[in-house]
């Protein structure tokens, strides 16, 4: 197999390079302005190691991808040419990267889909602020359930973009009608991301001033008792391993996310240890169908004698959680307001198949899937004096579960819409169900 590269230049002869050994002598950069040289050096270091033409092309392409992921260039073009000049070797090559840096200030307007909510997001970004791919972003988001704004500073480590640090200051106001609760969080957080082998880790410190209030005059007294201010200062660690081919409707691969949070040891008046995990496994079976299993769980252990806060507890139920039940309407409640629980588990088993008779195959029809599901879960408070055996027993009693079928629509690689017909079972007194047709939109589904 011979590869040919034909370069035509004014006033010079044609050179035909076959697939033979070459040496990359120079790498040029056109278009660098404020970007500092060091960060560029790391990303293109591999290009110098290429030994033949195919290798040069491949390594140049990889370098281009690496440069683009820094988020500082609008465009990166690669030119490979023979070396000219006095010190040119007969098999020497010059690689030139022609880059266009992003403007100093960019604005953006997006719409975002969260879990059963939508929002408008306006952003102002200062990319590549000091020349080493630092980024300052200001974002304002107005949504159906939440309004927020925030300022964040992001700095990657030169040479390893996946190791990065970000500092955020934010204010978020949320409304939770299932609990008749209104929450305003003003906080500052510092986050450090780093990969270890195949896993991604995040270490974060967060200080939040939380203000809770009743959403309506008719809120239950249990929610009214939680109104007021508190300060949470917590350290958390999260680990993610994701081998799926896509996060929305994956065909294969697995996801494991483990998250722990310890609050109260660096100030604040909220003290707890919180663990939660998320596991998903996908496998493609006959006829383009995919079987998917997922398991979620979590536990909140208050430290000291103060009870847990409604803002820290877990919630269960809804079109993105245990289907067939209303949004977050499972578990402990008081006068119709759901108070959340300190421990939960939830599991789902799904079968996704292409639409029957495959309408629109190869085009629009591929975005849809039919969907058969079985969901189950439980949410309760634990009396931590009792011991693990009693806890497991409590979580195994009164399991809520549901089954059904429906249609799933994939929105790009960002979100998914579901329309299901659900049969909720194991309904306990106090749960609110949504039997029959249920619609859901979001990014994270059980």
């Amino acid at each position: 197999e011979e590869a040919e590269l034909v370069e035509v230049e004014p006033e010079s002869k044609q050179e035909i390079l076959e697939n033979k050994d070459v040496v990359v002598q120079h790498v040029h950069f056109d278009g660098l302005g404020r970007t500092k040289n060091e960060i560029i050096m790391y990303e293109i270091a591999d290009v110098f190691k290429a030994r033949n033409l195919i290798d040069v092309m491949r390594k140049s392409h990889e370098a281009r991808e690496k440069l683009l992921r820094l988020g500082i260039f609008r465009q990166v073009d690669v030119l490979i040419d023979t070396c000219q000049g006095d010190d040119a070797l007969p098999n020497g090559l010059d690689v030139t990267f022609e880059v266009t840096e992003l403007r100093r200030l960019t604005g953006s307007y997006n719409t975002m889909v969260g879990n059963n909510e939508g929002s408008m997001v306006l952003g102002l970004k200062f990319p590549n602020l000091f020349g080493r791919a630092e980024k300052v972003t200001f974002q304002f988001s107005y949504g159906t359930k939440e309004t927020s704004y925030g300022l964040s500073f992001f700095k990657p480590r030169p040479g390893s973009f996946e190791k990065n640090l970000s500092v955020n200051i934010y204010k978020v106001t949320g409304q939770f009608p299932w609990s008749s609760l209104r929450e305003t969080d003003r906080g500052i957080s510092t986050e450090f991301n780093f990969p270890i082998w195949k896993t991604n880790h995040t270490l974060k410190w967060e200080g939040v001033w939380r203000e809770l209030g009743c959403l309506a005059r008719t809120a239950s007294f249990s929610v009214r008792e939680e109104s007021g201010h508190s300060l949470k200062s917590s350290i958390s660690h999260a680990m993610v391993i994701d081998s799926r081919n896509s996060s929305i409707l994956p065909k294969r691969g697995a996801l494991l996310k483990i998250n722990q949070e310890l609050a109260g040891y660096a100030g604040g008046d909220v003290s707890f240890l919180k663990e939660d995990f998320e596991f998903q496994l996908n496998k493609q079976i006959f006829w383009d169908s995919v079987i998917s299993a997922s398991l979620w769980g979590g536990m909140l252990v208050p430290i000291g004698d103060k009870p847990s806060s409604i803002a820290d507890r877990f919630y269960l139920g809804g079109p993105t959680s245990v289907r067939g039940f209303s949004m977050y309407s499972i578990g402990p409640q008081s006068e119709g307001d759901y108070l959340g629980g300190e421990a939960f588990w939830a599991g789902g088993l799904h079968l996704y198949t292409p639409l029957p008779f495959r309408p629109g195959q190869g085009g629009f029809g591929d975005l849809f899937r039919t969907h058969f599901f079985l969901n189950a879960g439980n949410l309760c408070n634990l009396n931590y004096g009792e011991g693990p055996r009693a806890h497991l027993q409590r979580l195994a009693e009164c399991i809520r579960w549901s089954y059904g079928a429906g249609i799933v629509l994939r929105l790009g690689n960002i979100a998914r819409l579901e329309l299901n017909y659900c049969f909720p079972m194991g309904v306990q007194a106090g749960d609110r169900i949504c039997d029959g047709v249920q619609f859901g939109a979001g990014i994270r589904f059980l």
């Binding site: 008792e225 007021g228 201010h229 100030g267 604040g268 008046d269």
Partner: protein, 246 residues
């Protein structure tokens, strides 16, 4: 109407460390009123009582399923349940009672708020430490500043921002003078039976007399009127002796 339940509760801030003069006075007024109506109530102290209240002001009562805050609405609520202290008054007296209650709220209560939040020495040494005491740093500071800003804004709106402490104490003196004149030698403001006005006046005057501030100037203004101090002692003995007292 439902009968008065046994587990009726009144919520206020923490008594020892947190509650301020004005809130203590308002809470005591409601407690006195309920005692005069012979309606039993438990006092529950919570650090977040102010934020639990539907109107943002303490005290509030939790009776059955209802939550009612501040003396005025509580009097109405209790009346709807069939208990009232002012039923025996005629229209003229009722109007007079309302007028004097307005006087106490506009003069005495505002003076208390002024002293707590606008007098720099009191603010630094008493109000800031007490108001933020249940909260960790820096939340204690943030909440105190936020509340002070709110009170100062209200003072500006009613024209008290420009007053000096001496002028405020003068206003307190005038108010006490008016109350003393109206009370005269009677046991209660409307002779034989106490009304919500008596509860309100007792709440404020008793709290002023028994709260230790930077100086005694405020309590001295009240002590000048001997019938008022006797009135406070009388109500304390009649309705609060033998119960949990301040």
């Amino acid at each position: 109407a439902e009968p008065w339940p046994e587990n009726a509760a009144l919520y206020q801030q923490l008594k020892e460390e947190q509650i301020l003069l004005s809130d203590n006075a308002s809470s005591l007024a409601v407690q006195a009123f309920l005692q005069m109506c012979n309606l039993p109530i438990r006092v529950i102290c919570r650090a977040n009582a102010e934020y639990m209240s539907p109107s943002g002001k303490v005290p509030f009562i939790h009776v059955g399923n209802q939550v009612v805050s501040e003396l005025g609405p509580i009097v109405q609520f209790v009346k709807a349940k069939g208990h009232s202290l002012s039923d025996g008054l005629d229209e003229v007296q009722k109007a007079e009672m309302k007028a004097y209650m307005e006087l106490v709220n506009n003069m005495l209560l505002t003076a208390e708020l002024y002293l707590q939040w606008c007098d720099d020495v009191t603010v630094e040494e008493i109000t800031y430490p007490r108001y933020g005491s249940p909260y960790p740093w820096p939340l204690n500071r943030i909440l105190s500043y936020q509340k002070q800003w709110e009170v100062r804004r209200k003072m500006k709106a009613i024209g008290w921002a420009g007053k000096t402490l001496e002028q405020v104490l003068e206003d307190v003196d005038q108010c006490c003078h008016a109350l003393s004149q109206r009370l005269g030698t009677q046991p209660y403001f409307f002779n034989k039976q106490p009304t919500e006005l008596d509860a309100l006046v007792f709440g404020h005057l008793f709290t002023i007399l028994t709260t230790q501030l930077i100086t005694d100037e405020l309590s001295e203004k009240v002590k000048n009127y001997s019938n008022l101090t006797a009135f406070c002692r009388r109500i304390e003995q009649q309705y609060f002796e033998g119960h949990e007292k301040d």
